[in-house]
């Protein structure tokens, strides 16, 4: 069984590039060049150097002793929260800005949910002196104010998406519209493993540095490259794709993808795509998505802006369909409590997205000698107001 992408741009039956003709030249140019460019030694060198000197990689693999003790298993945290800008998102934006430069693009657009991808994009645009426009749902602008402020400081223009649920899905629509209108000079930096091929694969490859590092870091600490479990939350799925990447074909390593159940999977306010979704097309990709019988995309809900998305990337649709990954759903309340717990047990305030991954320990028991790696996809600075309000601290 193959879990990674095939030469046609599909993960099993999922993927492809269901795009309007207006996007074809851009997407095709990217498709034809991305692997070639990524393989160029000068690209690799610049990418690696920026990840090291600018982003601060490798991110540590940290044995969380007090958390491990509490749940009687061995929990390692992959510290993507320590990356420059505070989440895994920057691994991808560094890669894509270098890609955009090599494709001769001068203007960058992006969508963002939690704002982490927007900040990471604004950051690399400042670094390279490129114009940057970030689309962000009006609701997300309100609930992730610190990240909006950061984007502005970095010189990016933040454009509110006012349609639909005014969250990530709609910001993505707006970004695609912008790209359609600016097909020559503009590169669209998609922030997750979603969108038309080759985006899911390209983003996964940029994020794959996460599992590449886990392998040698775990070897150093435990004498094996293989954990028993790798756990990651799934909005679009990029942090999970990165954490799973080098383990995809090795089924001795179990993969757990954690989705946002919002106020409860069947409450009508949820973003648990694997349970609630069906096959269909969203943002240029054939995948699982939440939709009406009629094929209208449903407005999702999660307290976490980064998981508040009605689809998942095609890789994850495939991992779900094949059973390669176990999918779990975590409610707002469970996530918030897990976020507080990590803060007070380990001194690490996680992003609310990440808190979903941390909440699985109340649902699933692990063996004392299991090695469980949680991809700590981001820090919670952007979520402080939400935590404070929620817990009335």
């Amino acid at each position: 069984m193959a879990y990674n992408i095939n030469e046609k741009g599909y993960y099993g039956e999922f993927g492809g590039a269901y795009i309007p003709e207006m996007l074809y030249p851009n997407v095709e140019e990217l498709r034809q060049n991305y692997l070639k460019i990524m393989a160029e030694p000068s690209f690799k060198a610049e990418f690696d150097q920026l990840l090291k000197d600018y982003v601060g990689r490798p991110s540590p693999l940290y044995l969380a002793k007090r958390l491990s003790k509490k749940y009687n298993t061995k929990i390692y945290l992959k510290r993507e929260d320590l990356n420059h800008t505070g989440a895994h998102k920057v691994n991808n934006t560094i890669g894509q800005i270098l890609m955009a430069q090599r494709l001769g693009k001068t203007r960058i657009i992006a969508e963002t949910g939690a704002g982490q991808h927007g900040v990471a994009t604004a950051t690399v645009c400042a670094l390279m002196g490129m114009e940057c426009i970030v689309y962000m749902g009006e609701i997300d602008i309100a609930r992730q104010a610190p990240n909006v402020a950061r984007m502005k400081m970095l010189g990016a223009k933040v454009v509110p998406a006012l349609s639909g649920s005014r969250t990530l899905k709609d910001a993505t629509n707006e970004a695609i519209r912008d790209w359609i209108n600016n097909p020559v000079d503009t590169h669209y930096i998609i922030g997750s493993v979603v969108g038309p091929h080759p985006y899911p694969d390209m983003v996964a490859r940029f994020q794959a540095v996460v599992s590449e590092e886990i392998q040698w870091q775990l070897k150093e600490k435990e004498g094996t490259t293989k954990p028993n479990y790798v756990v990651a939350c799934v909005g679009g799925g990029s942090n999970a794709a990165g954490a799973f990447y080098h383990y995809l074909e090795d089924t001795s390593v179990k993969l757990i993808a954690v989705e946002a159940a919002g106020k409860g999977i069947h409450s009508g306010e949820s973003a648990a795509t694997s349970v609630l979704g069906r096959e269909g097309i969203i943002h240029g990709s054939k995948t699982l998505l939440m939709q009406t019988n009629d094929g209208q995309i449903t407005e999702p809900y999660s307290i976490s802006a980064g998981l508040d998305y009605p689809g998942v990337g095609p890789m994850h649709a495939h991992l779900y369909k094949t059973g390669r990954a176990e999918f779990m759903s975590i409610t707002d309340d469970e996530a918030m409590n897990a976020g507080l717990e990590l803060s007070q047990l380990e001194g690490i305030i996680p992003a609310i997205e990440t808190s979903h991954s941390l909440a699985i320990f109340d649902q699933k028991k692990f063996k004392p000698d299991d090695i469980v790696i949680i991809n700590l996809s981001g820090r919670g600075d952007k979520d402080l107001n939400n935590y404070i309000d929620y817990f009335k601290l």
Partner: protein, 263 residues
């Protein structure tokens, strides 16, 4: 012969109108179609509303959203159109995004189109190769013409390929942009229209995006077989409802008559 092909043989510049089904009111669909035919329009694109119409500008997007709020569904559209062929003979095209059709079932959807008297489909996010490999035979089996888009950025080889698998017309996007976003055409567009015209494709071209009045219609159809008006017509509907449609259309066709008679 498919009504579209027949229409394309007529010796005039064609005016095609787009509107979102279920807008402004849920059950306006049939009467808008009838009034458009009465006004002398040549072809109609009936928009099947979608929640996330990523190739559309704000005007069409909002009309889609409103149509969905009004209760528009795929089934309902087919119901509204069930007896349309009793009253109109104009070529009818459904334009919509792929996901609702996929959920309906592509084969079922095509079958229903045929039964209803729909002549063709425009599906902006159904890629040429996916169509060609997976759906072409189904479309053909039901006598449906599938219309592909080209843009100023589309390469010659690709245009030729699209021409080779088309059997109606080519939807020539005036400029790379979502619907409704530019006003008036500059040299760039004119050169593009001329360039495509000189390719002598086997399918005629109809221009869409950015046509809002007689001036842009005239420019667009100088080198092309026809042009499609979308956002401008939706704006008319927003303002006037289903009234005065002939007035809106006449502003364009009167010019067409006076101008192109000479040609």
């Amino acid at each position: 012969m498919n009504r579209i092909n027949k229409k394309l043989q007529e010796d005039k510049k064609l005016l095609s109108i787009y509107f979102s089904a279920g807008y402004p009111n849920l059950n306006d669909t049939a009467s808008i179609i009838q009034k458009l035919e009465e006004s002398g329009v040549d072809m109609i694109e009936i928009g099947l509303p979608f929640s996330d119409p990523l190739a559309d500008g704000p005007t069409i997007q909002e009309s889609s959203t409103q149509a969905l709020k009004n209760g528009m569904t795929t089934n309902l559209l087919f119901n509204q159109l069930a007896t349309i062929r009793e009253t109109v003979t104009i070529p009818l095209i459904i334009m919509g995004y792929f996901n609702p059709m996929l959920q309906y079932g592509v084969e079922a959807f095509c079958k229903k189109c045929k039964e209803t008297g729909i002549d063709g489909l425009i599906i902006p996010d159904l890629p040429v190769d996916v169509y060609n490999e997976q759906y072409k035979s189904i479309f053909e089996k039901h006598g449906l013409i599938n219309v592909f888009l080209i843009t100023p950025q589309t390469r010659i080889e690709r245009i030729n390929f699209i021409d080779s698998i088309s059997n109606g017309f080519i939807y020539m996007v005036s400029s790379a942009s979502v619907t409704g976003s530019k006003s008036g055409f500059g040299d760039e567009q004119t050169n593009y229209f001329e360039r495509i015209s000189k390719m002598n494709l086997s399918n005629p071209q109809i221009v869409g995006f950015g046509i809002s009045n007689n001036e842009t219609f005239t420019q667009a159809t100088k080198h092309a077989k026809g042009a499609i008006i979308g956002s401008a017509f939706i704006k008319h509907l927003t303002k006037n409802g289903v009234t005065n449609i002939d007035f809106f259309i006449n502003k364009i066709t009167s010019i067409r008559k006076s101008k192109f008679k000479k040609a």
